[in-house]
Symmetry: C2
Subunit: 151 residues, 2 copies
């Protein structure tokens, strides 16, 4: 039965083509997707897309991020070539982060994603309320629904 896991087409990815395929599990694109499809990465890139900023500035701007996640995410983004880290050996060390051209390309897509989330927020919220209120109501004949198995 588990053999079925491997019968799916591996798609072409590690072949000569320079283009990745996010749907194939072993394609590096999948790792990259997992990295950039991250709450903190998106917010950091969005901010740095508007200009360089110091560590403490990012922490102040991104409400609710912990030092650990901020430095960890910044290091990932630096490793991926999306942000630059500049250390100023001043009195107390001052570290400035900026975005690379490669990262700037990505920011454009992310911006439209955030824009969608901010404008459609209320639609999503009402959909959630509708979904949460649908269960246990006047539905009587749906034997194959999720509620039928929950016992």
């Amino acid at each position: 039965m588990q053999d079925g896991t491997f019968t799916s087409p591996r798609h072409l990815c590690e072949t000569a083509s320079q283009r990745g395929n996010a749907f194939s599990a072993d394609c590096p694109t999948r790792q990259i997707l997992d990295r950039i499809a991250d709450k903190w990465s998106v917010l950091i890139l969005m901010i740095l897309g508007d200009g360089a900023m110091r560590f403490s500035g990012l922490k102040r701007r991104i409400d609710g991020v912990s030092q650990k996640m901020l430095s960890q995410t910044l290091r990932s983004l630096e490793r991926d070539g999306l942000v630059l880290r500049h250390v100023e050996p001043s009195v107390p060390v001052s570290v400035t982060y900026s975005i690379t051209p490669l990262g700037q390309e990505l920011v454009a897509s992310l911006r439209s994603m955030i824009d969608w989330a901010e404008t459609r927020m209320s639609d999503v919220l009402s959909a959630q309320r509708a979904y949460d209120g649908r269960d246990g109501a006047s539905e009587g004949g749906m034997a194959l629904q999720r509620s039928a198995v929950s016992a």
Copy 2:
């Protein structure tokens, strides 16, 4: 000192404005961002953006996803009003998932994000290789670098 955490501007969000602000921790947009900034959500929405598909079809198409994560992610997306779930009480139950107009809007942004990831994959990979090889090389005077504390 910890009071500083709360001195940051809460931005306007739960006010009269219908528009969210992803940078404020208590704005619903943040939750929505966390939901859609997810590997599996992105891949599912991308596929459903091309047309409806059954559970097993999605599982076959998205290489490496488990049944649990697939049904779990699909239910989240359904709750958020991004996908529709249609149960066909046929011989073995057949469940078809399709995208909503709201979800279709989002797919456009996601597509450009994936497109970036697939085309820039090699750039990111070479940046990663450069970053991983930078440590322990001919750097002699960088006392404030990360390597100084790693001992």
